[in-house]
């Protein structure tokens, strides 16, 4: 019971407490909605605009999922290639790390100049963001396989491919999921930035529109949607991890952090 209280009740109660406090402050000091709308006010606005918010969120969700798909495909592939051919890793990793340090705000407009206003620049942006956590955690995982098991496979004469398939890939799964959890939350943020830069739909586009119109209440509504989606993605990734990585004893969280 103690652990349940610690894990669920405490953070949820704190969150509810903070929201109640927020509501009280806004009521007490009569803060104007364009400065800080109250939670109830935000809720009302979201309800009024529910159809639009749902449609825009759906559009963002699809974009983020495409990004995650690309991130998984490229990340897993390059982790395996880098692991098997260390020369490639040594040659490419500086470039990849550099791409991770270019601010998205700067990169976005450049991509639009190069690739136009279609879906292409958005996908490149998302792939760049989603790729890295998966590739790097999985690369760590591939190298962390148990030395005893490695020795055992060597002694029975397993081929390089067998070692990869039977030992290194399964051993890297917890690391892969650590990367996926990060990517899942980043993907929403990256999708928002991509939509901000140039789009006619999506919650990022909605955010730009409302922010330019000083509709702070709707901006907060968009933020709630964004946070909700990011949390949902994280939750799904964590759930998948629990379903796939079932061999570890309960209560032991693992992988790269």
């Amino acid at each position: 019971m103690d652990s349940k209280i610690g894990r669920w009740l405490l953070p949820v109660a704190t969150l509810i407490g903070a929201i109640v406090l927020w509501q009280l402050c806004v009521d007490l000091w009569h803060i104007k909605p364009y400065k800080l709308p109250s939670p109830l006010h935000i809720g009302e606005r979201m309800w009024e605009q529910r159809d639009r918010l749902l449609a825009q969120s759906g559009s963002t969700l699809r974009l983020a999922l495409k990004g995650i798909g690309l991130g998984i495909a490229l990340g897993v592939l390059s982790a395996i290639v880098f692991h098997l051919i260390p020369v490639v890793r040594a040659a490419l990793s500086p470039i990849i790390i550099i791409t991770q340090n270019i601010p998205l705000i700067a990169l976005g407009p450049l991509l639009i100049i190069w690739l136009g206003f279609g879906i292409a620049p958005k996908l490149v942006l998302l792939a760049l963001v989603c790729y890295f956590p998966i590739a790097w955690s999985m690369l760590t995982g591939l190298g962390q396989a148990d030395a005893n098991l490695r020795e055992y496979l060597a002694m029975i004469g397993a081929s390089r491919l067998t070692v990869l398939r039977r030992l290194e890939l399964p051993a890297s799964l917890p690391y892969f999921f650590s990367g996926l959890k990060i990517t899942a939350t980043y993907s929403i943020t990256a999708a928002i930035v991509a939509e901000w830069l140039g789009a006619s739909e999506g919650i990022g586009y909605y955010l730009v529109l409302k922010s330019k119109g000083y509709d702070t209440t709707s901006v907060f509504g968009a933020i709630v949607c964004i946070v909700g989606m990011a949390l949902a993605f994280y939750g799904i990734a964590a759930l998948l991890e629990r379903l796939v990585v079932r061999w570890r004893p309960a209560g032991r969280e693992g992988g790269a952090r």
């Binding site: 098991l149 002694m155 029975i156 004469g157 399964p170």
Partner: protein, 286 residues
Amino acid sequence: MSGQAKLELIDIHHQYSRGKKAHPVLGGISLTVANGEFVTLLGPSGSGKSTLFRLIGGVERPDAGRILIDGAETTGRRGQISYMPQQASLFPWLSVRANIASALTTAGVERRQAEALAAKWLDRIGLGDVANEYPRVLSGGMQQRVSFLRALLMPRGVMCLDEPFAALDALTRADMQAWLLRLWEEERRSVLFVTHSIEEALTLSDRIYVLSKAPATVLREIRVPFERPRRADVWKEPAFVALKEEVLALLERGGRRTWPMTRICTPTNMRPGAAKHCSPKRSPRA
């Protein structure tokens, strides 16, 4: 014994270099394992027994010497032996049965046949109930039984067991020895077993090679006189105690390196001129 040895090592030398210094580990080891024979390497810690296994497994190449399996040169070739390490080394993400089956498929057994064989044998050794569990639910002793079964079922000529019971507590260890003895005597595979326990060596083996400290050489080859099938309480016999004391004295002297180096002569290393370095009466199973 008719025909050639199952496994034959001829004058194996090996050294490691740490920094600029060379550390000789094996100083000319020759030994044989006959078909269906249980042979033990007994030596102090750090006498290069595990290194010898890596060479037999083909993971490393010896600096000098040859390794033959069924009379064919296998020096530096992998995939010739089955192996049971000190740590059970079961794959945590595979069920107990899949652990055995996947090792068999690596050794070339067809998948469905491997699954069936694993299931049948797990039932036979009384672990059928846990066949679908992850290995972590098993005790240390049970994990080692699975590990032994995995080695036993691989279709390879020689089983190499590297101190498989060293990590177990004394009671479990005695239990496992009795279990292994019974199972091996039913199956009679060719086994090369490494241990530093004299009792374990005397209880299980047909022959024992006593090794010196590094650089390891064969101090003596002992034919264990107790009949098969062997009782697990063979250690109660006076002859057992006497033999144990003899080996202990041998190891103590060998540890101080005052014991004269002996070499086993086999027809393959009896080159002209080599004979005078060997003690001619030592040829095993001549």
